[in-house]
């Protein structure tokens, strides 16, 4: 009998769990993908009642604040925000943080205006292998496509770079040392 009570209690728990989740915080956006500079509408509920909710777009390298919005007495809110124009294409997470936190995925697509480069190379001067092209695609088809490399912030700096030099040197010395020893045999 005791086992029966336990089983029934467990089944009741399982039945109730989805209901609990159904009333938890939620966050929605009107489109799953957008371009930099475009407007999106954010809706949420259950995060904060009569309080501020901070909206942040979390990228792989940096976060972008999208401001805040006030939740009503039911904890609901809706806000249309303009996405920062400097966003690079990729997958982002929109985070809404009040008393509770909710997230939703947002894909940033290439925009026509910002495609390719912040300082796009003119198509007529697309270069490869040191040779200047004179028959590149016309402007209308691909406004800012460029074969040029990005200016990058790099992680291997300071002591990490010193260590990389050290390992490279040790590897070279080991190679030469082993060869010299083998030739001496």
């Amino acid at each position: 009998m005791k086992h029966l009570y336990t089983a029934v209690s467990f089944l009741l728990f399982l039945a109730v769990t989805p209901q609990i989740h159904a009333h938890g915080p939620s966050l929605k956006i009107d489109k799953p993908a957008a371009s930099p500079g475009e407007e999106i509408t954010v809706r949420g509920e259950g995060l904060t009642t009569n309080g501020d909710v901070q909206l942040t777009l979390r990228g792989i390298l940096e976060d972008h604040s999208l401001g805040s919005v006030r939740g009503d007495e039911h904890g609901r809110f809706e806000k249309t925000v303009t996405l920062p124009s400097e966003l690079s294409p990729g997958e982002y997470t929109l985070v809404a943080a009040g008393d509770e936190t909710a997230t939703v995925k947002l894909t940033i697509q290439q925009s026509e205006e910002s495609a390719g480069s912040s300082e796009p190379a003119p198509m007529e001067h697309a270069e490869h292998g040191g040779h200047e092209s004179s028959e590149a695609p016309p402007h209308g088809e691909a406004p800012h496509a460029t074969p040029e490399a990005m200016e990058l912030e790099r992680s291997t700096v300071g002591s990490a770079r010193g260590l990389a030099w050290g390992l490279t040197l040790v590897s070279g010395l080991l190679g030469v040392g082993l060869l010299v020893r083998e030739r001496g045999r």
Partner: protein
């Protein structure tokens, strides 16, 4: 008791090999192998950060370069090592061709090597696609155009084959799983045959005089030198990353080792993608079939050497032409 004794190192690896095999040109094969090991180690690390979805790939590269500890350096080593592998495997191929070592009974050793060469080129190609910068995107677009052009033979590689997963993810699976597995299968055959058919010697060359164990130590030394060179190049010229791709644009050219295909594309258009690489690749299978002379000495195989190096020169001329020619649109 020493560890080497416990591992029966002397008994297993101390067998005699020709003295001539201790010369530098004989090490390009093992240098290539060490390069592959470097690729595996650095590749496993990079895999922890890479996102193989079309929307996240380029961003994950930015993360690898800017945030991942040592990510920038190890990616650069991966990139340079890939280039050095192509160089060393080319030297290995040329040396074996010069020596006539593909001749009976070593035909299958040669063919296994040619198949591995194909895997290396495919590994290099799939690697260039992964960053999804402009060059990577265009390389993938050419891959898709080639697959579509190949009809039923290429159908499985097209985006239309399945909507459940992107072409990029499938190329990534090829790069990190399928191609390495096939490569090591052929490598097993290659090494087995080298072991039991022995290293090819010309008349008058000592068939013994050294041991594989000594050779192995020198191989290790060359491996360290390979690693040092890749590290040095990575520190001096870190691997670059292009801007996020603009769909529909075609403004880049392929890396040097693929430029000859670009030249063919300039003349024959998309069909060159379908027929060019397979036809030129198939030529590499021919030497053991065509060269049936008794002697393997270079002076007795002048015709074959002339054809072989003429073929190489042709590829180089095509690459040079493609490098100098203006960028063209082939598929967009």
């Amino acid at each position: 008791m020493e560890l080497s004794h416990r591992l029966a190192v002397e008994e297993g690896l101390g067998y005699p090999i020709p003295k001539v095999a201790d010369r530098l040109p004989y090490f390009f094969g093992s240098i290539t192998f060490f390069g592959i090991l470097v690729q595996i180690v650095t590749g496993i690390y990079l895999t922890q950060f890479y996102n193989a979805s079309p929307d996240g790939a380029h961003q994950s590269l930015l993360y690898i370069i800017a945030r991942a500890p040592w990510g920038d350096f190890l990616r650069s080593v991966h990139r340079w090592s890939a280039n050095l592998i192509l160089l060393s495997v080319t030297f290995h191929l040329l040396w074996v061709f010069w020596r006539g070592s593909y001749r009976k009974p070593r035909e299958i050793t040669w063919w296994a090597g040619v198949l591995m060469l194909g895997m290396i080129f495919l590994l290099y190609f799939t690697g260039t696609v992964l960053p999804q910068d402009q060059a990577g995107y265009e390389a993938m677009a050419h891959y898709i155009a080639g697959a579509r052009g190949a009809g039923v033979f290429g159908a499985v590689f097209t985006p239309e084959f399945t909507p459940s997963v992107s072409v990029l993810s499938r190329l990534y699976a090829l790069h990190v799983g399928v191609l390495p597995m096939i490569f090591f299968g052929f490598l097993g055959v290659h090494l087995y045959l080298i072991r039991f058919l022995e290293i090819h010697t010309h008349p008058g060359e000592d068939r013994q005089g050294s041991t594989f164990l000594r050779h192995l130590r020198r191989m290790g030394a060359h491996g360290f030198l390979f690693l040092a060179l890749a590290g040095l190049l990575a520190l001096l010229w870190p691997a670059e990353l292009g801007y996020p791709a603009v769909e529909g644009a075609e403004v880049t050219k392929p890396p040097f080792f693929f430029l000859w295909i670009y030249a063919l594309e300039n003349w024959f258009g998309t069909p060159a993608l379908v027929f060019g690489p397979p036809l030129i690749y198939l030529v590499l299978f021919l030497p053991p079939v065509l060269d049936r002379k008794e002697s393997t000495l270079p002076r007795d195989r002048k015709g074959m050497l002339l054809v072989g190096y003429g073929f190489l020169l042709l590829l180089f001329a095509l690459a040079l032409y493609a490098w100098l020619a203006p960028a063209q649109q082939h598929i967009m």
